[in-house]
Amino acid sequence: MASSRWKMVSQRDAYAETLVALGAERKDVVVLSADLSSSVRTSVFADHFPERHFNIGIAEQNMMGIAAGLAASGKTVFASTFAIFGTGRVYDQVRQSIAYPRMKVNIVVTHAGITVGGDGATHQMIEDIALMRGLPNMTVIVPVDAYETKKAIRAAVSYDGPTYIRLGRSEVPLVTQENDPFEIGKAATMVDGKDVTLVGTGIMVAKCIEASDELRKHGVEARVINMSTIKPLDVKTLVKAARETGGVVTAEEHSVSVGMGSAVALALGENVHVPMRRVGIEDTFGESGESEELMEKYGLTVESIVDAAHDVLRRKGR
């Protein structure tokens, strides 16, 4: 996925490990799967706590309703499937039964984005951030790596309300340290810089860091922000960075018209006027291919970020 500088670690395994730890710590944790427990790794929890894992079969809408019922009865619920089946397919169930009554259901999905690869467009979810961030009461988190996955899962358990946590299929670059703090709604500055701000989410954070290295070669000091909570958005950190650097580029493995970048654009638009560019998948469905090839074809590259940064820098000068 990325250049060899990164250690690649599975977020799915980090999720499973954290679930098992939580299962031992808390008796109220219940986990639901929808015939994908082996893929999303909730099967590991099932091995440890078979009485607190329910496989609902290929019936995601039913799963979300059951999750709501369990939560209404005091359970802390995790419902897991692929991003495609945990959002679009169940949107109304999530809206009516989970978000509206503010149920403590954590929807943790894997296989988000285009890096799903060979399965193709039907399985490549690139609109989920839009669907979930549009829901009142919903918290939307895209953990950047395995460490942050563990912290986000724990934060979700202590948080009173529904969460949507978006994980990938493949192993992803480890860009944070084990002891880095994590708080829902707080963006982290990964690289300091004064000339332009690169705001990344998910696997694009590593690409932003690589882009900042590239830009440094041209004398540009880019600040890199890891926007792992998409909602609530850390507007304060964003506005500060925009003011201090005078230009913003966002990057995400998601449809660019409705994702993190558009949330950032809206927030900035009402607060500070700086040139901006968004890197992401244009308004189109994906297709089958190798993850790397798809990232290239759909413009999710270091070069796209560098080009966008240069464009922003040019417009800054005007």
Binding site: G57, G118, A121, T122
Partner: protein, 280 residues
């Protein structure tokens, strides 16, 4: 109806070729779903090489019968049948799941000639079949729509919404086949989410329901014949099959739901299907 040994032998040979192609495609792509492709092969071979009226050189022929692969992950079986039938060159199969290919991981009706519906998210094909059968009634066409379902797929509520509407609209031009291989992704259907008593459920929804051995061509052809003579209601054929049928180590193996064979397994599979490692 009596079926000649010659016809049965021809279908068997077609099915064998389709199985070879399935293994080749998934091996070359290094991903895909062999188990549910192999279990459905005989049913699909019967449809494409005997039962359905269709014109591979005119994929949009108005009077054609429709086939909807609701369990879209069995795309390799569909592509192999379409290529064998002549919709596109067999060579194309090598591009399965590759960037720019007309053969997507799951069926795409806009990319592949002969594919009637874009599927892959389970549970949606029967509704599309109801729509096609309704359109045929509106247009007074004597076409039949066939929809292949997975047994795990029968977990989906939408299947039963579609079943209810098909019988409400008296769609005797709609035939559903359940590939009853008794496995879904996480394990045996009866351990993950039981769907039994399956035939009673379909009957309760107003369907004419049959049960057959989904690897016995005489029974397969007989069931389609029976369906074609049934008036006033839709027919469902519960076809008892073996997931991974034809490749010993894939038969009944949950592990081969969505996993490609490695080099040795590929060679072994080819041998069992009666071909050399060169695919001939």
């Amino acid at each position: 109806m009596v079926y000649t040994e010659q016809l049965i032998e021809q279908l068997r040979e077609r099915a064998r070729t389709v199985r070879v192609r399935i293994i080749e495609m998934i091996f070359t792509a290094k991903s895909g779903h062999p188990g549910g492709s192999l279990s459905a092969t005989d049913i699909m071979a019967a449809l494409y090489f005997h039962v359905m009226k269709h014109k591979p050189d005119d994929p949009k022929w108005e009077d054609r019968d429709r086939f909807v692969l609701s369990k879209g992950h069995a795309a390799p079986a569909l592509y192999a049948c379409l290529a064998e039938a002549g919709y596109f060159p067999v060579e194309e199969l090598k591009t399965f799941r590759k960037l720019g290919s007309m053969l997507q991981g799951h069926p795409d009706m806009r990319k592949t000639p002969g594919v009637e519906a874009s599927t892959g998210s389970e549970g949606q094909g029967l509704s599309m079949g109801v729509g096609m059968a309704l359109a045929a009634k509106l247009d007074r066409k004597l076409t039949t729509t066939y929809v292949l379902l997975g047994d795990g797929e029968c977990d989906c509520g939408q299947i039963w919404e579609a079943a209810m509407s098909a019988s409400f609209f008296k769609l005797d031009n709609l035939v559903a086949i359940v590939d009853r291989n008794k496995l879904q992704l996480d394990g045996p259907t009866e351990q993950i989410m039981s769907i039994e008593p399956l035939i009673d459920k379909w009957k309760a929804f107003g369907w004419h329901a049959l049960e057959i051995d989904g690897h016995d061509f005489k029974e397969i052809l007989g069931a389609f014949e029976n369906a074609s003579q049934t008036k006033g209601r839709s027919t469902v054929i519960i076809a008892h099959t073996l997931k991974g049928k034809g490749v010993s180590f894939m038969e009944g193996a949950v592990a081969f739901h969505g996993k490609a064979p490695n080099k040795e397994q590929h060679a072994q599979a080819m041998k069992e299907l009666g071909v050399g490692a060169d695919g001939k």
